[in-house]
Point group: C2
Chain length 471, copies 2
């Protein structure tokens, strides 16, 4: 049934780590990115039909010429991923507007053995959103209609191509908030968020998409429309198939519509930025925060010294904590009453100080100060890439072993060309972004080997992206 899908490229790569050279300091033209099929020459194209004029004619008759891109310069940006490390060789981009059009396209492609590659905002960092060979790109960019927002139930129903930030703006006007938020919000599509089961900085507060997504409509490879678009918070009819589409990265079908439960918008936000001298104290502080801040705790972000200093240097900001602080935490509360939240946060800080968990820190209640502290945390990824090539791995580990991956990698990389190894991430989901900085931009067996060795040292490693599964 799924014969017209190439397995997502990310599942193939021999070295699945992502190598990033920061784009601002060294802008890369799309056309100069090496073709994925050349870079990974062991990849074999499936036995799919090559695109012919008659196929394009069919698509044009279905969508009109304006929604079928075939000009090389138009197609180019759909072939290259956001990090400009992967490049496909697709010759056509289709822009359906409706579920019915997606269905017609997939049915036709299935009947004619044409490979396809669904694409949302193309903000993925593991090469999953772009073709490997000449797959037809089906972009959800024009499927951006908000179908309904129910102010009573807080349920948003929309098409899959809606940009997360636009949805946030719409629900905010109605006193609601999107249950997820992530750095790529200005470009990423909600359909892509669902297909990759995106987490982000609100997961601590509002839980995973498996809890927030009430319904999904998707189209299977043969054109069949799967209607699991319930808008009920509890719907026990039949098997709960919609969950299979969360995180399946388009391999089971293209998500076309989504129903999401949006919580009420918090009225007050406070942020504390804290200095700690050991990872054990990070965990102890997390336990204390869960207990003292309970229902208003909304973020608990962790960064080690190197991560923080890279951001401080890159963004030319003053460090809110002493520069030799081994570990820093950004803790955010959000709730219905600013005074209440501040009182809870003060009590928590008092206890954390008295117990010796934290050495230093700063508290921000003004939006500009809060933004500055968040900029530091969110600027790490970008700043990391300013002085070399970065090998990135985002990994979930059991909380108590959260930081081991960095310590183990540091050990393994002694005496190599790697000049920095650091980690930061969400403590709640035990998701650490571990980064190796090298002067070389080629896939490095040393980097891969370092992670493999780290992996060996635990019974099991849980990777947050399937692209890293087979390392």
């Amino acid at each position: 049934m799924f014969s017209n899908y190439l397995a997502r490229p990310c599942r193939y790569f021999p070295a699945q780590c992502t190598v990033v050279k920061f784009l601002h300091t060294s802008p890369v033209k799309c056309s100069s990115v090496e073709l994925t099929q050349i870079r990974y020459s062991n990849l074999k194209r499936g036995n799919y039909t090559s695109l012919a004029d008659k196929h394009v004619s069919f698509f044009e008759s279905l969508l009109s010429k304006t929604r079928v891109l075939t000009d090389k310069s138009d197609v180019e940006s759909y072939n290259v991923d956001w990090l400009k490390t992967m490049r496909g060789a697709s010759k056509v981009v289709l822009k359906p507007k409706s579920t019915e059009e997606v269905s017609e396209i997939l049915k036709y492609c299935n009947d004619n053995v044409l490979a396809v590659c669904p694409q949302g905002g193309n903000t993925g960092l593991v090469g999953g959103s772009v073709p490997v060979f000449d797959e037809i790109v089906i972009s959800t960019v024009l499927m951006n209609e908000i179908i309904s927002i129910n102010k009573t139930s807080g349920v948003l129903v929309c098409q899959a191509g809606c940009v997360l930030e636009n949805l946030e703006a719409e629900v905010t006007e109605r006193g609601l908030v999107m249950p997820l938020d992530l750095g790529a919000k200005g470009s990423c599509h909600i359909g892509g968020n669902i297909s990759t089961n995106a987490g982000g900085i609100r997961l601590l507060r509002y839980g995973s998409l498996h809890g927030s997504v009430l319904g999904v409509e998707a189209v299977k490879a043969d054109g069949t429309v799967v209607d699991c678009l319930s808008t009920l918070k509890k719907d026990n009819t039949g098997y709960h198939l919609k969950h299979l589409f969360l995180g399946s990265e388009g391999t089971l079908g293209i998500v076309t519509k989504v129903a999401i439960q949006c919580p009420p918008k918090p009225q007050a936000v406070n942020v504390a930025f804290l200095a700690l001298d050991s990872f054990e104290k990070v965990l102890a502080t997390y336990r204390l925060a869960r207990s003292c801040l309970g229902e208003v705790l909304s973020s608990f972000e962790f960064m080690d010294r190197d991560s923080l200093m890279v951001a401080v240097t890159g963004l030319k900001l003053k460090s809110p904590v002493p520069e030799d602080t081994p570990f820093s935490l950004l803790i955010e509360t959000s709730g219905g009453n600013s005074d209440h939240d501040e009182a809870k946060l003060s009590l928590f800080l008092e206890q954390a100080t008295n117990k010796g968990f934290i050495n230093d820190g700063t508290l921000a209640t003004e939006p500009s100060r809060i933004k500055m502290l968040w900029d530091l945390r969110e600027g790490i990824t970008q700043s990391l890439t300013m002085d070399g090539y970065v090998y990135k791995y985002d990994i979930s580990l059991p909380m108590e072993h959260f930081y081991d991956i960095v310590s183990i990698m540091k050990e393994r990389l002694k005496g190599t060309s790697f000049i920095r190894c650091c980690g930061y991430g969400h403590v709640e989901t035990s998701l650490i972004s571990s980064n190796l900085l090298s002067t070389s931009g080629q896939p490095s067996t040393v980097a891969v080997s370092a992670l493999s060795m780290a992996s060996d040292s635990r019974r099991r490693l849980w990777f947050t992206s399937p692209s890293l599964l087979k390392l």
Copy 2:
């Protein structure tokens, strides 16, 4: 692969409504409950092997004699459901202690074409937990080991046969709370909660089990163990298969282990009991509560006049609101600081009064008063059955149509033997328990017809139990 499973009996019944004659006023012996296969004579037994001595010998060699019940009096209670409206004819009950034993049992049954019926706490109200014919009962009652409780991450890992109330007691000692709570907590097994995707009164606060359940281990019909027992809050490896076991009622396999995220235990609880004069005001009050109470709102329970008065009469309590109040609400807050929560609740009540949403009400902060108010809400089900036979339907409807089912049924039942039609439930999940009271205990085509007609009046009805799907 699933050939040794009889489809759950609840999927067959021509009249899927549950008829309840309250047990306390008219105790029913298990042996006097009519056999399901006689009551619903259109049901046909599948072509399964009948139990023979050699099968029992095998089970005894596997489990020892003490964990293989064959004595009629021992087996009896496993054949009859909690409401004593269904009775199977099983001749043997098996009590495995481990996943390996469940696997061995299922493999043997599959190889020998023996039908099985998995059973947890046997607290289900739709006949799904008892055999229809002579299926072998596999009880999880001895699979009650708590494997781990991680105080840092709040993750509980346990066997499927743990009783919910026992788990609550264990996690409470560690400053945590189970993310679900329901009336049957003293008997129901966590494996059954998962297999039926139980909701309950904490769903508003902590979301559905799809968000809270981090991992599931289950055994398929052929004995294969499916290990999805992740303990990570985010685990994007592979397809998210564990969700298929939530709400699939044992048809895909027997859940043997569970990993659940337990939130921190709230320190303070407050309850308001309010009187309203229209259903529109119920919804307006819900919107206001979501906005004013935000993160501390933990329950929003609704009941109409008849439901409340039945509980007041049945429990011999004084009504906290005037007896002619058309609609009542029980609103609970729970949070980290009692003063903060009371302040938020007071502000909410002031606004709701000023806007004319609520007419009257009472506020409780003392545990004994809180319990009394909850007793009224939780006592409805029991009290309803004291003066006749009750036909019960639990249905999720879009929030704005939440109460329509009762109005439509009242209209349809005019001039029949039905003496009461009332509704109550969780507003957050739009889950209404609609109840018809009759003097007759036989399955009533009038009752079924009333619901069917109500169903016709909407494009679609969502039933919370698959047993009601085919009505």
